[in-house]
Amino acid sequence: MILEVKNLSKSFKDKKAVDQISFGVKEGEAYGLLGPNGAGKSTTIGMIFGLLKPTTGEVVVNGFPLIKQPEQAKSCMGYVPQEIALYPELTATENLTYWGRMYGLGGAKLAQRVAEVLQIVGLSDRAKSTIETFSGGMKRRVNIAAALLHEPKVLIMDEPTVGVDPQSRNHILETVKKLNAAGLTIVYTSHYMEEVEFLCTRIGIIDHGKIIAEGTVPELRRIVGEVATLVLQVSSLPEGLLATLHGLSELNTVAATLEGLQITAGDAAQALAAVTQVLADYRVKLRSVDIKEANLEAVFLHLTGRALRD
C-alpha cells in the first residue's frame, strides 16, 4: 500500500467530523472518496497531510508514519487543495519554482520540472504571466502543476474542480486520467459522482465522517441491485393509467414527477415493452424515454436515504 489510513478520527469539541475511517490505496490505483459537502472528506485530507492533528488513528505514506517521519511522508505526496493556493502577484514559473524549492528541488532539475509540469497542464505559453491574469480554470491547472513538481508517489486532490467551467473541468479530468494511466497513484475527493466514476478504480463512499461503502463501481452498484431508472415523457396522464402501471409485474416502482413518469425496474427493456403496450391501450403518446442504469447517486441514496447534493 502506498497510503494507509488507519482508524482515523477527528473531533471538534463535541462534533465528530471523522469517525474511525480506514482505507488503503495501492500503487498505481485511483481511489475516490465520494461524499456530500460536510461528510468529512477535507478533514480526512487535512489529517493525511498533517494539517490537522488526528484525535485517534494514524497515516502511513510509502511506509513512513506521518507523525514520526512527517517530512519523509509529506515528500511522497502531492497536495492539490480545494482552493487555489498560489501567489497571484507572481508568474506561473515563479510560483512553481517557489513550490518546487519547498519540496527540496533546485537548480537545473527544478527548471526542467517547471517546464514539464507546465506542459502537462497545457500552460507552457503562459509561463511568464502572473497568476492574477489567469482564468479560474487556468489557475486550477497551475494549482495541480504545483503538486506534480517533485514527482510524488501519490497525488491527493481535494475537490479540484469546484467552481470550474465545464471546459476546464474536462481538461483537468483528462489530465488526471492520463497521470493515472502513466502510473501515478491518485486519491480524488469529490461530491460529483460522475467525476469519481470516470476517474477512479476504487471508491469509498463517505457520510457523516464514516466510510459507509467501499469497492469498485460494479461492486458498489450491486449494493442497490441491477435496477434501472426510466423517465418517460407522455402526452397526458389519463385516469387509471398510474394504477394500471402499478399492476405490471415488470416494474418495481412508478411515480409521476415533474420530469415525467419515473419508473424503476430490474430489466429496462422488458419494462419499456410492457409500458408502451399500456400507453397504447390508453391512447397516450410516448414523447421521450430516458433510461438510466444504477449509478453511485443511487447507491448513496440507497445507503443514506439522501441525495449526494442534499
Binding site: 487543495p81 487555489i84 524549492r101
Partner: protein, 398 residues
C-alpha cells in the same frame, strides 16, 4: 535555505506592491523634509540655534553650583549660552518684559540636599510661548542632576560597603570621599559635554533617524500581513502540507521583515543623504549594521504580534496603533528632551527610543557601541523566540 526562499518570495511580492512601497519609502522622506525644515532653525544645532542669554540664579552657593558654572563654562556650551548671573526677581522681571527667554535656578540647599541623599532638582524659568531654548537648558539641567545623583548613589554604596567591613571609619572622612567622587563625576560630565568629536545634530538628521525608525516599524506590518494573506489564500496550508518544518516557515517570515526593513533603511539613508545632505555618520558600514540591528528588533516584534493576535484587519490595526504609540513615546514625533522625566524613562520601552539613540549617536560622531545594539538585538531575539514558540505550538496542536 527554505526560510530564505520564503523570504525572497515575500520580498518579490512586497516590491511588486508599488503603493505599499510608496508609503514605506516616500512618506518618511516627505515627513523628514517637513519636520526637518520646520524645526531646523531652532533645533539643537548650535550655529542655527544661535547664542542666547540665560540667567543663572544661584541661591545655593554650594559646591555643586560652582560645578554647574564650570560645566556651563565649557567651550561648547559657552558658544551656545551666554550666562548672566542675577537674582530670581530680576530674572522674572526680565522674562516678563520679554528681554530674557530662560533662567536656571539653583535652589537654596541644592548641594546639601544632594549630599544628604535627598531628591534635588534645578528649576528652569521660561518665557511663555518659547520652548526650544528652555528645552536645551532643561536638558542640561536634567543631565547635570542625573549625573550628580547617580554619582552620589554609587559613592554611598561604596561607603556603606566599607563601613560594614570596618567600624573604625571616620564619618567626616567618608563625607570627604563622597565629595571627591562627585568631583570626579562632575569633571567627567564636563569633559563629555566638551568632547571635541561629539557634535550636536541637526533637525534634518534627527528626523531622518526618527522617521526611518517609525516607518521601519510600520513596515514590520508586512510580516503580519504576509502571514494573514497566506492563511487567507491557503498557501500557508499548502506550505504546511509540504515537507517544510514550521520552524523554517516562521524563520522565513522573520527574514522577510528583516529584508524589507534593511532594504527600506538603505533606501531612506541614501535618499536623505542625497536629497537633504543628511550625514548618518562617518562609517557607513556601522550605519548599515545599526539599521540591520533595528530591523532585527522590528522583525521579532512583528512575529510576536503575528503569533499572539488574530491575523485579521483588527490584528493589523493593533500593530498600527502600536507603531504610533511607540513613535510618540520613543521620540519619533517630538524630541524626547522636551518630555517630562517620567515619560523620558518610559520611552525606553519603545524600540524607537533605542533606534533614535543609536542613529543619533552615530550621526554625532560616535562609534557603534554594544550598549546601542544590545537592547535592540535583545528585543528582536526575545520576541522571535516567544512568537515562534507560540506559533509552532499552535500549529502542532491544530
Amino acid at each position: 535555505m527554505k526560510a530564505l526562499h520564503i523570504a525572497i518570495k515575500d520580498l518579490l511580492i512586497t516590491l511588486r506592491d508599488w503603493q505599499g512601497m510608496l508609503i514605506f519609502l516616500v512618506m518618511p522622506m516627505v515627513l523628514t523634509a517637513i519636520l526637518g525644515a520646520a524645526m531646523n532653525s531652532n533645533f539643537t544645532d548650535a550655529p542655527s540655534l544661535g547664542q542666547f542669554e540665560m540667567a543663572l540664579i544661584d541661591e545655593d552657593d554650594g559646591e555643586l553650583a560652582v560645578a554647574l558654572r564650570a560645566v556651563l563654562d565649557t567651550p561648547l556650551l559657552k558658544s551656545l549660552i551666554r550666562v548672566i548671573e542675577m537674582t530670581e526677581a530680576e530674572a522674572i522681571d526680565r522674562i516678563a518684559a520679554g528681554k530674557l527667554q530662560v533662567a536656571l535656578v539653583v535652589p537654596q540647599g541644592f548641594t546639601s540636599s544632594v549630599y544628604a541623599g535627598n531628591d534635588a532638582s534645578l528649576m528652569v524659568l521660561k518665557e511663555a510661548g518659547s520652548s526650544l531654548r528652555p528645552m536645551v537648558v532643561q536638558g542640561i539641567a536634567n543631565s547635570f542632576v542625573e549625573y550628580v545623583s547617580a554619582g552620589r548613589i554609587a559613592a554611598s554604596l561604596a561607603v556603606r560597603q566599607a563601613m560594614l567591613g570596618s567600624s573604625n571609619i571616620d564619618p567626616m572622612q567618608t563625607a570627604g570621599h563622597i565629595v571627591e567622587q562627585l568631583h570626579a563625576l562632575i569633571l567627567q560630565f564636563r569633559e563629555e559635554v566638551a568632547e571635541p568629536h561629539r557634535s550636536l545634530i541637526s533637525a534634518f538628521q534627527y528626523y531622518a533617524a526618527a522617521m526611518a525608525v517609525m516607518f521601519m516599524m510600520s513596515a514590520g506590518g508586512v510580516g503580519l500581513e504576509s502571514i494573514a494573506v497566506e492563511k487567507r489564500n491557503l498557501t500557508w496550508e499548502r506550505l504546511m502540507a509540504s515537507p517544510t518544518s514550521p520552524v523554517y516557515m516562521i524563520l522565513g517570515k522573520f527574514l522577510t521583515v528583516l529584508l524589507v526593513n534593511s532594504l527600506q533603511f538603505m533606501v531612506l539613508m541614501l535618499g536623505t543623504t542625497l536629497l537633504y545632505k543628511v550625514s548618518w555618520g562617518d562609517n557607513m558600514l556601522m550605519v548599515v549594521a545599526a539599521g540591520v540591528c533595528y530591523a532585527v528588533a522590528v522583525s521579532g516584534l512583528s512575529l510576536l504580534v503575528a503569533a499572539l493576535l488574530p491575523l485579521s484587519k483588527a490584528g493589523l490595526g493593533v500593530w498600527e496603533i502600536g507603531v504610533q504609540a511607540c513613535a510618540a513615546l520613543g521620540g519619533s514625533m517630538v524630541p524626547l528632551i522636551i518630555f517630562p522625566k517620567v515619560l523620558q524613562q518610559m520611552a525606553r520601552l519603545s524600540p524607537n527610543f533605542w533606534g533614535i539613540r543609536m542613529f543619533t549617536a552615530l550621526m554625532g560622531g560616535e562609534t557603534l557601541q554594544l550598549t546601542h545594539v544590545l537592547p535592540l538585538l535583545a528585543i528582536g531575539t526575545v520576541a522571535l523566540c516567544i512568537g515562534a514558540g507560540h506559533l509552532v505550538f499552535k500549529q502542532r496542536s491544530a
